[in-house]
């Protein structure tokens, strides 16, 4: 008979049969298979068995529980045994979750982010600061809870095993990903962020300030990025209002100077009222003529002087508004790079779309936005946010002679220096199908990361970009499916179908959790009517119906490695492999379309913008399968359908090979081209890349090139080992005298204080 047992924490305590009897009784009662005396009988049997197995030694808890299970089964209590086994497995899951949660928090608190890969999961959060650390702790706890209670065992297993990745899992119980904010609609009549009402803005400066506030406010309701689909159109209204006021003011001041009086507002307003509201697009001679004529009627000024005064006032007003717009855009960009208002730990992921507003006001906004982008931040640093997306459209800005062609050209100069704007191509057939001239809401806008929400299976009358975004996305580990298929194409497709089924159901489950939330859970996103049709809801209404405008995205990673695993080569290495790759993604798209038709929900395929994911899957697959050449022998999987970054290929060819995948990945796609600094700064070369993308049917593209900066001497450009301006190496100090010398030649050399 055993005397003692070893508990989980290692302590040795006296064996107590009655404890076993109590556990058995619970199982029997749950299964309706017996009572206390039966429990005692089974417990006694278990004790005897333990005595036989362990004699004088002390069994562990696990070993005792094994014997209890067997005793229940051997005495014919199969149901009770099942209950006991399930209860035991659940306790184990909870215990392990608690342990791994505590371990994660320990790492968050104690390990320098530079050593902790987990803390660098999101490059935009400072994992070392206290707010960043708190955010990560909260995320860890949420993940543990969500895993325990919100996923089915099948989903949980697929996620933890690395068959799939559920993105933003920490927010599973709480909200959706992102939204394109229609600023025009938001600003009309003013809005609230929860603490007081903000009146409709009346100047370009307040438009810009409120735009930043809107992004920040919406960011607090969602876990992903915030986009403005109509940046040029919206801020143009601010420019228009500023111009009308400035024109009036400049004229009044000119009259006060001319007449040497203190207040000519009455005369000014009367004169302008005759002509209407002053605008940048006025036929100047006509408008100014009417104003001048009114001034002449006052009898205090002759025709020649009146015309001259009005005309000069207009000129000054134009210059002033241009300056004001530049200041406003500069402030906007600075704001978006410095406000750590997402859980106090990171700046919101912001994106702005522009390019197609041909009004003088819209053009003024775009010129100054790009000028401010070009100038950079305080010390000339490249602004990381917002992501700028230039909407390319034939007839509007793409060809010489188009009204905004000059802006398109300038955008490429700027992009060559600052990596933004990126380019969305409205003429790609899958984008063009929605386009209605004169209806900017039908222009495809994108989130900077690449999310695209345009088609609308739920409500085909509203296939627009405004007020919509992604609900959630889950990515499939394609390379793993290929590895497991061991070269059997049919087996691969079968496993892919199963996985897509699982993901589709999981996305729907997550939607149902989101759907049960109320408007009051989203004070800004829904409370202020930012999300499409949320303005039709009351504060206590559930949001399920309007959420259906959003997208449910099935993502993937590593098409290149998948093809190597299945066929020995990736899709950059020959047409037959490319065809195989296209077939796989087409198959996925067909599945998504089918699901969308069945459910009237906006299922789509996403070329996942993988960050943490690109290492996670690879690490797990390396552990499980070892280093398979061309598949798991690197530390990452290639992004989505991209040709591998290390594969030598011409820009033109890469674009041709990747473009057809844009059409398939309706939930989001992008193609990058890597250029060296010299090519990038050659505007013709840059433009030829963009035009090549356009012609190939790319939907969203961008050019990467090295942008380095020496914080000490302020040089911005390509830096190898040695800074071309001051000659220092990475981490090397330089004398103040040398810096002062350089400042004479390069005024942009900052006053360096050494406290980075």
């Amino acid at each position: 008979m055993i005397q003692s047992i070893v508990k989980r924490d290692g302590r040795v305590v006296l064996y107590d049969e009655s404890k076993i009897a109590r556990a058995i009784l619970k199982a029997l009662e749950a299964a309706n298979e017996g009572d206390a005396s039966e429990a005692a009988r089974v417990a006694n049997k278990a004790s005897k068995q333990l005595g036989l197995m362990f004699k004088d030694e002390s069994p562990t808890i696990e070993q005792i529980q094994d014997v209890v299970e067997r005793s229940l089964m051997e005495t014919g209590h199969d149901e009770a045994a099942k209950k006991y086994i399930l209860y035991r497995a659940n306790r184990t899951r909870i215990r392990e979750a608690r342990t791994s949660l505590m371990k994660a928090i320990d790492e968050i608190v104690n390990v320098d982010a530079r050593e902790s890969n987990m803390k660098r999961d999101n490059a935009n959060i400072d994992g070392n600061g206290s707010m960043g650390a708190m955010l990560q702790m909260g995320a860890s706890a949420a993940k543990a809870y969500n895993n325990m209670y919100l996923l089915t065992p099948e989903q949980s297993e697929a996620y933890s095993q690395g068959d799939i990745h559920i993105h933003d899992f920490d927010f599973y119980a709480l909200t959706e990903t992102c939204c394109q904010i229609d600023l025009i609609k938001l600003f009309h009549g003013g809005f609230s962020t929860g603490h007081g009402f903000l009146r409709e803005p009346q100047s370009i400066a307040s438009y810009a300030a409120l735009a930043a506030i809107a992004i920040q406010a919406n960011q607090n309701d969602q876990h992903g990025g915030q986009g403005i689909p109509n940046f040029d159109y919206a801020l143009a209204e601010g420019v228009a209002k500023s111009f009308a006021r400035t024109y009036t003011r400049k004229l009044r001041e000119a009259l006060e100077d001319y007449f040497d009086t203190d207040d000519e507002s009455e005369l000014t307003e009367k004169a302008i009222a005759e002509a209407g509201k002053p605008g940048l697009g006025d036929v100047k001679e006509t408008f100014d003529g009417i104003v001048a004529d009114e001034l002449v009627k006052s009898g205090r000024i002759d025709r020649e002087h009146a015309y001259h005064l009005v005309s000069r006032s207009r000129q000054r007003a134009e210059k002033q508004v241009d300056r004001d717009t530049y200041q406003a855009m500069e402030g906007f960009i600075h704001n978006l790079n410095t406000m750590h208002s997402r859980a106090g730990a990171q700046t919101p992921f912001s994106s702005i779309n522009y390019g197609t507003d041909t009004s003088p006001e819209g053009r003024m906004v775009m010129w100054n936005t790009m000028k401010a982008l070009d100038a950079g931040l305080g010390h000339g640093e490249t602004a990381i946010f917002p992501i700028h997306i230039f909407k390319v459209k034939e007839g509007v800005n793409y060809n010489p002679g188009d009204p905004n062609y000059d802006l398109f050209k300038y955008s490429m100069e700027v992009s060559a220096r600052r990596l933004f704007p990126n380019y969305v191509f409205e003429d790609a057939p899958f984008n063009l199908q929605y386009y209605k001239p004169g209806h900017p809401e039908t222009e495809v806008a994108t989130m900077g990361c690449r999310t695209r929400v345009m088609g609308n299976v739920y409500d085909p009358t509203q296939e627009i970009a405004y007020g919509r975004g992604n609900l959630s996305f889950t990515s499939i580990n394609l390379p793993r499916l290929a590895i497991l298929a061991k070269g059997d194409e049919k087996a691969f497709y079968e496993s892919l179908d199963k996985m897509m089924d699982l993901v589709a159901r999981q996305l729907m489950d997550r939607y149902h959790i989101q759907a049960a939330k109320h408007v009051y859970n989203y004070p800004f996103l829904m409370g202020q009517g930012v999300w499409l049709d949320s303005d039709k809801l009351g504060p206590n209404d559930e949001v399920g119906e309007v959420l259906k405008h959003g997208s449910l995205s099935i993502g993937f990673i590593g098409l290149a490695e998948t093809l190597v695993a299945l066929y020995g080569h990736h899709h950059g290495e020959g047409k037959e492999y490319w065809d195989k790759g296209y077939a796989i993604i087409k198959h996925m798209r067909d599945f998504a379309d089918k699901k969308a038709a069945e459910t009237h929900m906006n299922y789509g395929i996403l070329a996942t913008p993988a960050e943490g994911l690109s290492g996670r899957f690879t690490r797990m697959d390396q552990k499980r399968f070892g280093k398979i050449p061309g598949v798991t022998d690197r530390e990452y999987y290639t992004n989505s359908f991209h040709i591998p970054v290390w594969f030598p290929i011409k820009a033109y060819e890469k674009i041709q090979l990747e473009a057809p995948f844009h059409a398939l990945c309706n939930a989001g796609h992008i193609t990058y081209v890597e250029l060296d600094g010299d090519t990038a700064n050659n505007v013709e070369a840059f433009e030829s890349v963009i035009r090549c993308m356009h012609d190939a049917g790319v939907g969203y593209g961008s050019v990467n090139h090295p942008v380095d900066r020496d914080p000490v001497c302020g040089y911005v450009g390509v830096i190898g080992d040695v800074c071309p301006r001051c000659g220092r190496r990475n981490g090397e100090p330089i004398s103040p005298e040398k810096l002062a010398e350089l400042r004479k030649k390069y005024p942009s050399v900052p006053k360096f204080c050494g406290c980075q």
């Binding site: 982010a113 530079r114 890969n117 660098r120 999961d121 490059a123 935009n124 400072d126 992921f349 640093e381 490249t382 990381i384 946010f385 990596l419 933004f420 900077g448 990361c449 690449r450 913008p609 960050e611 943490g612 690109s614 290492g615 996670r616 690879t618 690490r619 690197r634 530390e635 990452y636 992004n639 970054v645 290390w646 030598p648 290929i649 820009a651 990058y672 081209v673 890597e674 250029l675 090519t679 961008s702 990467n704 090295p706 942008v707 380095d708 900066r709 020496d710 914080p711 000490v712 830096i719 800074c723 990475n730 981490g731 090397e732 100090p733 004398s735 103040p736 810096l739 360096f752 050494g754």
Partner: protein
């Protein structure tokens, strides 16, 4: 005396900022990148 004072003192341990694009957005320095994306950036070749 003057020679002693002329020391190199500014910018010790200050590295170059290397702005790179990571999954669509820019990050100022690469120390915040996770290991997988760092490895990928190292492997990137230029397309002519």
């Amino acid at each position: 005396m003057a020679a002693l004072q002329k020391q190199s003192v500014l910018g010790k341990d200050v590295g170059f900022e290397r702005i790179r694009r990571i999954t669509g957005y820019l990050v100022g320095t690469m120390d915040k990148w996770n290991d997988a994306k760092k490895a990928e950036e190292r492997d990137r070749v230029k397309h002519m």
